[in-house]
Amino acid sequence: MNTNRRDFLTLAGFTSLSLALPRSLRANTTPPHVLVIGGGFGGATVAKYLKLWGGNIDVTLIDRDASHYACILSNLVVTGAIPMSRIQLGYGNLKTKRGVNIVQGEALSVDPASKEVTVKIGNDFFAYAFDKLVLSPGIDFINPAGNYNSDLTPHAWKAGTQTLLLKNQLAAMAKKQTFVMTIPKSPYRCPPGPYERACSVADYLKRKKSGAKIIVLDANASIQAEPINFGNAFTKTYKDVLTYIPNVAVTEVDSATKTIVTSQGTFKGAVLNVIPNQRAGQIVANAGLVNDPTGKWALVDPLSYASTLYPDIHILGDSQGTGQPKSGHMANSQAKVCADAIIRSFSGEAPDPSPVTSSACFSPITSKTASWLTASFQYDPVTKAMKRVEPSFAEAPRPTSDGMEQMFHWADNIFADSFS
């Protein structure tokens, strides 16, 4: 870049001077600063790998919460099979083992011109300057019409208090009552996730609440992931307790009476688990980075996950709009591509021209068995997009107890690979 020094000073303003200068103009002793917003699977992984691979880079990770609760395995918390502590992931290892600066605060806005993020910490507001910014805030919801209140009808699609709310409502169900759930319009976080929840709840009802039923209202025309395994589960394993209805458009929700009005009739349940339609995390919208044709996600260059609008702002995980599945495994995978590209850019190099990314999801089908789904992607230089490698895309031939065992090993390893 040939921007002359004077222009740079005027552009950057005085306060963020040292960080706005290109590396060649900066004192050798000042390391570049990467600011990461969101300490979930994308954000934790990119922070860790920047430190692991990057040498002298300053990395600050900001999350609104003191620790992250993984959605991965969270359906098993809902049914009481595992405790909340099993999905609680702290930031202590990133701090002490990797040297990441950990800050608890809420990012409110991004100024791409001055390269600063406004963060609310307690009751104070701070401007955090960056050389590179990575946003991995996950999803936010498009709430349904009506008197919708997620405290009364929990989605449990972000883990934490929502997971416990749903767990408690499920546990409080009486025999012969009905659990009603909705499946959002694709694309949404974790394609197999809602079907996995339906199976976990159906299994629980069969074992614990005799005569109870589950009604699954899908906004989509068909099962969106693992059609064989979930199809078999719905039509065979759970045929006595589960009713699956596709093509359901939600008209309105009344959370107080746990009633949902849809294109296929009105339903009322003892538990109403509405999983609303989804969009990029709010901070991505606040930063003005939502620019895909649907108006929900951020377009990025999949060689670096840099925004197509601002080259120094990267968007990872569920919020980005490359069309790759929105999974934790995928967020971790993209984070490594992003970390590698950021490190290369600091030494003046172009990103790796042929990255590979992967997704893997393990889904409990019964309390003893699990299936899996996997897909990998290669960069296609012609379309400049990540393209699924078809021979790498498959669901498990059938749910097995081995699958259940592998699920827990995979969770342990991906939790550690992302958070420690």
Partner: protein, 120 residues
């Protein structure tokens, strides 16, 4: 394209006391070199670490994959990518070209060996 909505900036904004302190501190101990260009195969291999652990050292279950002989590893990976898929591993490995499997096998061989993989 311009951002569609003006970001909300609170009126009581403080000029980043915290991060500047952090930066000043780390500047003092800036004894490491600038980030170097990453070694070949490092990024590709890291896509195995979600299951096989960071640097091929798992914390649970699956085999360690660090520090194996590069040629044997390459043969094994190629074999898994060609045989009738038996499990999730055989699908994962189909993502890569033979040239990429070569890079992965070479890079993994430079990593420390894990105790689990010592056994075989």
């Amino acid at each position: 394209m311009q951002p569609s909505s003006k970001p909300h900036v609170p009126s009581t904004l403080k000029r980043a006391a915290t991060p500047r302190t952090i930066l000043a501190l780390s500047a003092v101990c800036a004894c490491n070199p600038l980030p170097a260009a990453p070694p070949a195969g490092q990024l590709l291999s890291s896509q195995c670490f979600q299951c096989h652990g960071t640097n091929g050292q798992p914390v649970s279950g699956f085999e360690g994959i660090g520090g194996e002989n590069a040629n044997e590893m390459y043969k094994e990976l190629l074999e898994m990518s060609l045989r009738k898929p038996e499990g999730i591993m055989d699908l994962q490995i189909r993502a890569y070209t033979p040239a990429q499997l070569r890079l992965i096998a070479n890079y993994l061989s430079t990593l420390p060996k894990t105790s689990e993989s010592d056994d075989d």
